[in-house]
């Protein structure tokens, strides 16, 4: 677990910002946009193991949702 994380209110703001950014893009650009965003965010996290944990969480959620 991380020692410091984004407060939920800010996470909620991110949710809304992303929803609006996605709506501004053509649907075909969604996946590249999200992959670029993931790299840009990872660059700001100084600990590789944190990024790896986030990849595992997202992957697990995708697998669960696909069941």
């Amino acid at each position: 677990m991380t020692t410091s994380t984004l407060p939920f209110n800010d996470l909620e703001r991110v949710y809304e910002l992303l929803a609006e950014a996605l709506d501004d893009l053509p649907e075909a650009q969604e996946t590249p946009f999200l992959a670029q965003l993931a790299l840009a965010l990872a660059h700001r996290i100084p600990d590789l193991s944190e990024v790896e944990a986030a990849i595992r969480e997202a992957r697990r959620a995708s697998e669960d949702a696909g069941k």
């Binding site: 809304e16 992303l18 929803a19 996605l22 969604e30 969480e57 959620a61 069941k67």
Partner: protein, 554 residues
């Protein structure tokens, strides 16, 4: 709407009362002057009438119907609303008939991903939420109003015109036996979303209408599933629709489901369409195997719309006539009841000359402030329940998928249920001078505390202003209280008291209020806090009462 062959009042569980037309004196040439007229005998209008009556003000309530609401509609009463009903002396029937609850569950792709629990403890008299069909809510309030000598209910009386001048308001009322003019000092418009009073004054609601439409349907079904709020996202049976399920008394279940963006609402509310969709939800989503009967249904569209000003001269708008809010979070009825009480006590105190007319200026900032707070929360809830676009839908499903295994994403699935609004910015509220480590802050409603078996702090509030006094008061304050006989003093943590009602108060109660010996909380008739002090002086108390009541005080 009801199934084919059944009249609007032909319910599986509720016997609709019939309220006859009674010829009023105005139709026989008399011209009585009413202090307050209320348009609309729904839950908000009748609550306002009972609040006025509680403060000793007579009123007349007009409604075009001859019975109560056609369907269950607003079914969730919050604890704050039950505390209002307690002050009106009607809470027992609501608690006895209603189904109380504290919990809810969220499902994503038919798997439970989140359970929420609303704040509750043995310090509370009421559960955080009680489910009760709106017909019962109206019936219990109306029967209480019929017992009151101060409330006159005029059924089958439709208001068709409203004019006002500096001295009063005149209504044109249409009845089965002809039209008449009704004159009053003040008018409360509780006539709902399609308010006639609002139109007559040429006023419009402003705000947004969301895209999502919902069908709300009631069925009778025997099931042991407990009273909880269930929300289903992306179910296998109806992947595109968000579904909400609530239990109501008399084995009635409320099923709300979202319509797709391309669905024709007229086709969706035909009986066969309702039966198909509801049947699928009962079997596949709720996993119920028993027989069910269709009771009633309606179509619903989410709005965040409000008047710019809730008061226009001698007309005050309360409930849906002033604001329309999305259903998610159960704020429509609960905020309407708070409007009714806020307008009711202020009007009573002004009419009795116990407060200056400026007290009414605080109605809009307090209650429109509450509406704007609802909009901020309900807007988020609505975008979650009914994503308005591809981007919002993608983010919603991403948050739900992460919430399966990660607690940090669970709060996205929280229903953000109604909480009472704090009038922190109100002209009637005094900001803290002293530092309190706990307790309701100025503008917030009082919190309850258990004093004994079936015995709670809020049970002792008076009809007017109350002062919670913790332990021994300073001699100066004690002497000053003699100048405020109208103030009901609840003296906590003392054996007996010359200043007011002595009540038990242990260290835990003092701690919950952040109080020390000598601390005091000044409370309005609607349980909201005006001010609090660690060591109040006579001048503190006097200034606070002057802030609220102005210079009209005797």
């Amino acid at each position: 709407m009801r199934p084919a062959g059944r009249a609007e009042s032909d319910s599986l569980y509720f016997d609709y009362p019939y309220f006859p037309f009674v010829r009023p004196p105005e139709l026989d040439g008399e011209t009585p002057r009413h202090r307050v007229a209320i348009v609309g005998a729904g839950p908000v209008g009748v609550t306002a009438a009972l609040e006025l009556a509680r403060h000793g003000i007579d009123c007349v309530v007009l409604d075009d119907k001859a019975t109560v609401n056609d369907g269950s509609r607003a079914i969730c009463l919050s604890r704050h609303s039950l505390e209002i009903l307690q002050q009106l002396g009607v809470d027992r029937r609501f608690v006895a008939k209603g189904l109380g609850w504290t919990r809810g569950r969220t499902y994503f792709r038919d798997r439970e991903i989140y359970r929420f629990e609303m704040p509750h403890s043995d310090q509370e008299r009421f559960l955080p939420m009680v489910n009760l069909q709106q017909q019962y809510i109206e019936q219990f309030l109306i029967e209480r109003a019929m017992e009151s000598e101060r409330v006159t209910l005029r059924w089958q009386s439709a208001v068709s015109g409203v004019t006002q001048d500096a001295d009063g308001v005149t209504l044109t009322v249409s009845t089965p036996e002809g039209d008449y003019a009704l004159a009053c000092d003040y008018l409360l418009a509780a006539d709902g979303a399609r308010s006639v009073v609002r139109k007559a004054l040429g006023l419009a609601l402003h705000g947004e209408a969301y895209e999502g439409r919902y069908v709300i349907a009631d069925v009778r079904l025997k099931s042991d599933f407990p009273t909880e709020r269930r929300a289903f996202f992306h179910s296998a049976a109806l992947p595109e629709a968000t579904i909400l399920v609530h239990k109501q008394p008399d084995d009635i279940w409320r099923i709300d489901y979202q319509l797709g963006p391309d669905e024709d609402p007229e086709a969706a509310v035909r009986e066969e369409a309702i039966r198909d969709r509801v049947g699928l939800i009962i079997r596949e989503v709720m996993q119920e195997r028993g027989d069910w009967e269709l009771e009633w249904w309606s179509l619903y569209k989410a709005h965040t719309l409000a008047l710019d000003d809730y008061r226009h001269g001698r007309v005050l708008f309360i409930g849906d006539s002033a604001h329309l809010v999305p259903i998610f979070g159960v704020r429509g009825l609960n905020n309407g009841l708070a409007d009714a009480v806020n307008a009711g006590w202020k009007l009573a105190w002004v009419l009795q000359g116990r407060a200056s007319a400026r007290l009414l200026d605080s109605y809009t900032p307090e209650r429109r402030g509450a509406t704007l707070d609802v909009f901020a929360n309900a807007g988020k809830s609505t975008r979650f329940m009914t994503p308005p676009s591809r981007g919002y839908r993608l983010m919603r499903d991403a948050a739900l998928a992460l919430a399966l295994d990660n607690d940090y994403a669970s709060p996205f699935a929280d229903p953000r249920q109604v909480t009472p609004y704090t009038y922190a910015e109100s002209p009637l509220t005094l900001a803290d001078r002293d530092a309190f480590a706990a307790g309701p802050r100025p503008g917030a409603p009082l919190i309850n505390r258990r004093l004994g078996d079936d015995d709670f702090l809020l049970d002792y509030l008076g009809t007017g202003f109350s002062l919670l006094l913790f332990g021994e008061a300073s001699p100066e304050l004690a002497a000053a209280l003699g100048d405020h006989p109208e103030l009901r003093v609840l003296h906590l943590g003392v054996e007996d008291s010359a200043l007011g009602r002595a009540l038990p108060g242990d260290a835990a109660l003092f701690a919950a209020y952040g109080a020390e010996p000598g601390s005091a909380y000044l409370v309005r008739p609607d349980r909201h806090l005006v001010a609090r002090w660690k060591r109040p002086t006579a001048a503190d108390l006097n200034d606070a009462l002057n802030t609220v009541l102005g210079d009209a005080r005797p």
